[in-house]
Symmetry: C2
Subunit: 449 residues, 2 copies
Amino acid sequence: MKPIAQLILPEILDIVSRGEPAEIKEVLEQLHPADVSVVIGELSDDSAMALFLAAPREQRVAVFEHLEEDQQERVLKLVGARAMVPIVEEMASDDRADLLQSLPKRLADALIEELSRPEQQDVAALIQYPEKTAGAIMTTEFAVVPANATVSAAMDHLRKVAPHRETIYYVYVTDEEEHLTGVLSLRDLVLADPSAVVRSIMRENPIALPVDCDQEEVANQLAKYDFLAVPIVDSKLRLVGIVTHDDAIDVIHEESTEDAQRMGAITPLQETYLQTGFWDILRKRGIWLAILFFAVMYTGTALRLFEDTIKSMSILVVFVPLIVSTGGNVGSQSATLIIRALAVGDIRLKDWGRVTWREVRTGAALGLFLGLMGVVRALLWNTGPGVALVVGLTVLGIVIWAALVGSLLPIALRRMGMDPAVASAAFIASIVDVVGIVMYFSIAKLLLF
Amino acid sequence: MKPIAQLILPEILDIVSRGEPAEIKEVLEQLHPADVSVVIGELSDDSAMALFLAAPREQRVAVFEHLEEDQQERVLKLVGARAMVPIVEEMASDDRADLLQSLPKRLADALIEELSRPEQQDVAALIQYPEKTAGAIMTTEFAVVPANATVSAAMDHLRKVAPHRETIYYVYVTDEEEHLTGVLSLRDLVLADPSAVVRSIMRENPIALPVDCDQEEVANQLAKYDFLAVPIVDSKLRLVGIVTHDDAIDVIHEESTEDAQRMGAITPLQETYLQTGFWDILRKRGIWLAILFFAVMYTGTALRLFEDTIKSMSILVVFVPLIVSTGGNVGSQSATLIIRALAVGDIRLKDWGRVTWREVRTGAALGLFLGLMGVVRALLWNTGPGVALVVGLTVLGIVIWAALVGSLLPIALRRMGMDPAVASAAFIASIVDVVGIVMYFSIAKLLLF
């Protein structure tokens, strides 16, 4: 029961490359457009074009919408921009705006010029919104009915507009100035008395989000309310679009991947791992590695300060990896917990006091535990009680410090309007490392010399 | 336009604690059940109970469904299990099964005993499925119509069953043995000629997933096809449930958080950060810290092997943090990229060859870049060309090694049926560190002594 495209992909590729129209037609009938788009990604140019053009027009639109951006560009170039105009016209308005923004400017402009007037205006309206806001991910194809319509009139209206609406399961009610005044579902309409008036069954004061709302917040709110779609309003509270559940899922995937990459000290990739170019990935990793390289140099500098201590007591060096890695590990744990909790809305900025208190206690408990392990290890290595004590105290201190830095830095970054995930494990480790080295050798000097 | 609960929470709390029934009723009318559940979480026991009981029964069910598990238990205890039976009976079947599994066994058994027979059977059927499978997150409340019904008969049926169905936007068609034979949407029904027969407008061979399918795969498939719900079938291809879009979003959030926590070297928390108990969090962090503590000990052991080298040339020590942290950073970058790509399905196990080739090249390029930086830094520190060369070569070597370990370890873990995210940054760093130290001092011995 796995999706067809995965199970019998080789067989499908075989059929399509044989090029028998009847067989290709049968494949198309059995596959979901999302699967056809996967197949196209695996095909040679000729076969991809043959398969795409064999599809009936309606399916072609759906297949094209499901293609990755690089594949959309490929198909556009294969089929020819002019021939693709009818398909682009029928695309969902948010998918179309995304496509036109991802295309090379010349190709996009050529396409836009061919679109009919209302579509041109729609594209122009949508691409003005900044990336990663509600405006950038919403569609303008929502269903609206007047408050004074009867249920049966509303249903008739929905039947008429359904082919050009992203969803007709949520229906919005606006006044003369397009202000959002109510919402009702197709379920409400189906269950209502056909002669009832929309106003009497709609939900007033619907939840709506501003058009400049961050896309992650939009997705989180949609998830919180279990909505199929959430209405988006402009600064005058006029309904300008809706964000649907499938776009919210894409946003959640995208934001999670971005956060993971930031936390892994990588500038977020725009495309998937395998699609991202070699030089692009190099740049996005290299820049952070270079920054971290300079940061860790301070650890080297810190070590140089204690070169005499090291010379006269080289056994101390053996514990340096333990000190720095334990600090780094605890810091990265704290940062991970806080960054995720901020991302999904489990904690808010105002919780910083609770977080601090919790992390100090956790750090102290973990520090005692790990410090004791360090003492035992040192004694087993016959370093003598002095070094063992130094190791134990340093581990205790650095673990508390790491828990504090790891938890408060993401909150501080969010407070400054930055992405908390920038506080990557590696970045926190660098901060903690220097402190750890200085702490360690200072305690050693104090107690052992 | 922010959701009400956030904006005026203090005001709402004030109203509810004043306890004026008319005012409380007004609050309830204006709030979405999801917001009421947030408010309840902030209220004292008395006020929480007052607010909950003031809601009309239907809203009470929705509010209760939206509560976090610990709050559900609290309300159950406050209101009394017996009084809650009607509410539990009306809950969505998946939410109910989750509730009964999260409650203390005695409380759950007492509740189940009070449920009516069909609900008892439903609970028994749902809780048998292993956690994190399609069966564990699906609801059994889906809408079914026979293939030979007319559209208008199907609509009549939907109107009748709508209150007890999680969604009526997707309607499933089964044969006499409950095998899934078709699917159609409410949109299809609304647009169809009322006298048409369901068979003629339904989509045949619908995409379905097996009941033991991993929940992350279910969510990814639903996202791929932009479905509102995906049907779940048993081993005999009988329709046994559906997983809806809102549950898929919850799964995606949950899996992303789990992956982030694993990658941050924490055993995944069952609840949110602030809800998780102090000792629970301590255990989930401490166990990994202890494992990593032992792992990093090998780095100490490796350093001990070269104590003589260090004694005779202590300047070498200054670069140890650079070597180990650069290796760790590159390894964690690679692991992050691969773990996320595996999670969202961008790469599959069969891609390991492409991944290896890509990471070797990336590692070589990054290694040359960082190695050169290391050489320059060493020369600036007047270490002489010998040490500079040793640093440069080691950085080159360790970066390639780290890229390989970081990318192949997650793939290997997945291959062995484990979660790739177990390859946390800290874990990979430990493996890379030892190799880095041995590489560094071996090259130094070879070239400088």
